[in-house]
Symmetry: C2
Subunit: 388 residues, 2 copies
């Protein structure tokens, strides 16, 4: 196990009706709020009404920024920063999924920075301060509600970049499983895939003796495999939504990655796909992740796939190592398919046209890609070709 610092101060209010915690949280923290929302689903499903009711109880004035898109755009972030400055906002409340939260975090850091907020993403500048962000989560997927990361797309250059800092970790998050009931089948499934691939990026590693982290990672995968099909088929199953929701937060709040070398190659590749083609991140991961697994499987990595196959897919131990590993990867792909996720680029109408450029961009954006297996541009093109 490697050395690490564990610090996850986000207060999570988990369960039905927890929106009622908003009143006291906002009273304590906010003088004027920017409410950030997406493309209207929170308004269709009364979540927004609940939030406004609580804000009114807290008696804090607010301004609204709506219309944040999936793969949120830098333009909206600039717009949000402008509003915050003009309106003297001191608290941002993100009501939505990962995109809304990511945009809110970028706005929060941008307000306190004298330069261009894109510097955090593209120039490696580290923010030293940010407005506090709270969230009311409506989609189990990105884990953004409990971590210090944000991913934003610059539209004109089609670059999707990330940065992480403790100053943008939400101060509180409201996680009501019922608020995820209205997520459609496609995005529900994409969320489950996103959670699972977050786990993979931290699980597949050469760091020895990270049993605490790895057994917890497996715990979260088991939850996804049990409850993923249920949330897909029965969107109003409270217990299934609750388990997926909580697993999603724990899958990317540092707990299973700290003390380990992490990988993130599938994300590096997928970000290029969704930057250029604007596909859903989870769908992109369902396509890329199994191809990445097959590509990196070797004598040097087979042990970890065997661990994965036996502990997660209950594959018989008496088969050969390579056989167990391949079966585990196939089972992963089949599971994604069972949730009607695409597992080939063809299914989402993407050809090999931009593969070289994507590989080059990914390399440029990430500096180096992969630690479980370090990838070259050539590797990335091969993985994309295998995903066709």
């Amino acid at each position: 196990m490697l050395n690490f610092t564990h610090h996850i101060p986000t207060i999570v209010y988990f369960g039905k009706g927890q929106v009622s915690a908003l009143e006291s949280e906002l009273k304590k923290r906010a003088k004027k709020i920017l409410i950030v929302t997406g493309q209207g689903s929170v308004k269709k499903h009364c979540i927004f009404d609940d939030v406004i009711r609580e804000i009114k109880k807290a008696n804090v004035p607010y301004v609204e920024l709506s219309g944040i898109k999936p793969n949120p755009r830098l333009k909206s972030v600039y717009h949000g920063i402008e509003i915050c400055k003009k309106e003297s906002i001191d608290f941002i409340l993100a009501v939505g999924g990962g995109s809304v939260i990511d945009a809110s975090k970028a706005i929060a850091a941008g307000v306190k920075y004298n330069g261009d907020v894109w510097d955090f993403f593209a120039e490696g500048v580290k923010p030293t301060d940010a407005l506090p962000v709270g969230t009311v989560l409506t989609l189990a997927a990105t884990g953004s509600e409990m971590n210090g990361n944000t991913v934003i797309t610059k539209e004109d250059t089609k670059r999707k970049l990330a940065f992480g800092s403790p100053v943008i970790r939400p101060v509180f998050s409201i996680l009501d499983p019922e608020y995820t009931y209205s997520v459609n089948k496609y995005h529900t499934a994409a969320g489950v895939v996103d959670i699972m691939v977050h786990v993979f990026e931290q699980y597949f590693s050469h760091t020895p003796a990270s049993d605490v982290q790895d057994r917890i990672a497996e715990a979260l995968l088991k939850v996804c495999i049990k409850y993923g099909p249920i949330v897909y088929k029965k969107p109003h199953d409270y217990d299934a939504r609750a388990n997926i929701l909580w697993a999603g937060s724990l899958a990317l709040n540092d707990l299973i990655g700290e003390g380990k070398q992490e990988d993130w190659a599938s994300h590096a590749i997928e970000h290029e796909l969704s930057a250029i083609y604007d596909i859903s991140h989870g769908a992109g991961l369902a396509i890329v992740s199994p191809s990445w697994m097959k590509h990196v499987l070797s004598k040097n990595t087979v042990n970890k796939f065997v661990e994965y196959g036996i502990n997660i897919w209950n594959i018989e131990k008496n088969r050969t190592e390579i056989d167990i590993a391949n079966e585990a990867i196939d089972r992963t792909k089949k599971f994604f398919k069972s949730l009607s996720m695409p597992t080939t680029l063809k299914e989402v109408n993407i050809s090999d046209e931009h593969f070289e450029k994507m590989a080059k961009n990914a390399m440029e954006d990430w500096g180096k890609i992969g630690s479980f297996k370090k990838l070259t541009e050539k590797d990335i093109v091969q993985i994309l070709n295998a995903s066709l």
Copy 2:
């Protein structure tokens, strides 16, 4: 899954050499420190020297309170409170195991309270403020380094009582696996048992669909079962010490209990044992916990034992439920024995002399005992008799 609030703000510096984080933490937080230690082992093993070196770097004056005993006494708490007031202490640094940390927490709350600190334990008074506490942990066991609980024994009446409050959760904890190398075999084993029984108290529950919590609980048990025998045999095995240390913190920092009804009957019973006979808490639990399991095993609880038996002890699924459950309990007891822990009261020279009184005291101290199965005084006497 039940509703819950998750908030674990303790900063954990995990790994070798992390004592170096003390300097900046203390600089930031302390003007005058009370260092609390136990019965001298931190001085024998240079941990104290490391701490003093960092405090000197931080240039913060300090006062020392040494000699805290296992099953820490109320008298030391009073003494600590007196020192803090007299010396205008504003920060408490606990350097030791759970007893030292528990004493420090009680002192921290007592300093800010106008009445008798025992009110928090015996009268249900809730503290509203406390001095900040930081810890340098030297024993994997209680989880006190990351939670808001403390257990103190009032010597004259032989009552061992607990209270919990977010105001006494440590602000930071230094967890260096090498600092646990010098723990002797007996206390190492008792620590592993303590961690496992903490998990049991939260795992054995009727709350449905708490899969996230339960799979993580199993993750921690697997770590104990794999690494417990290694830390016992090879006290200087870094990876084994690291896994047990981190599992110990996660086993009782709220993560696996929140969203569930918890039990804590084994602890209620064990506290009476160690209050009267001053035995090691982990040893007491090794005796009580398997007897408690046998006692509560019924048609109504067998499912959970089957889950435990299959997921933790890999017992074949095709056996009868009751058979799997009994085998799981037997395996638990055998595991404790394999660590040379006592599993009968006879081994620690305890007779049935005070059973009635202990049952009565436990009932009085805890109000009600058990939720997986609610226990009466008669149940407690039966469990103690079965532990002879």
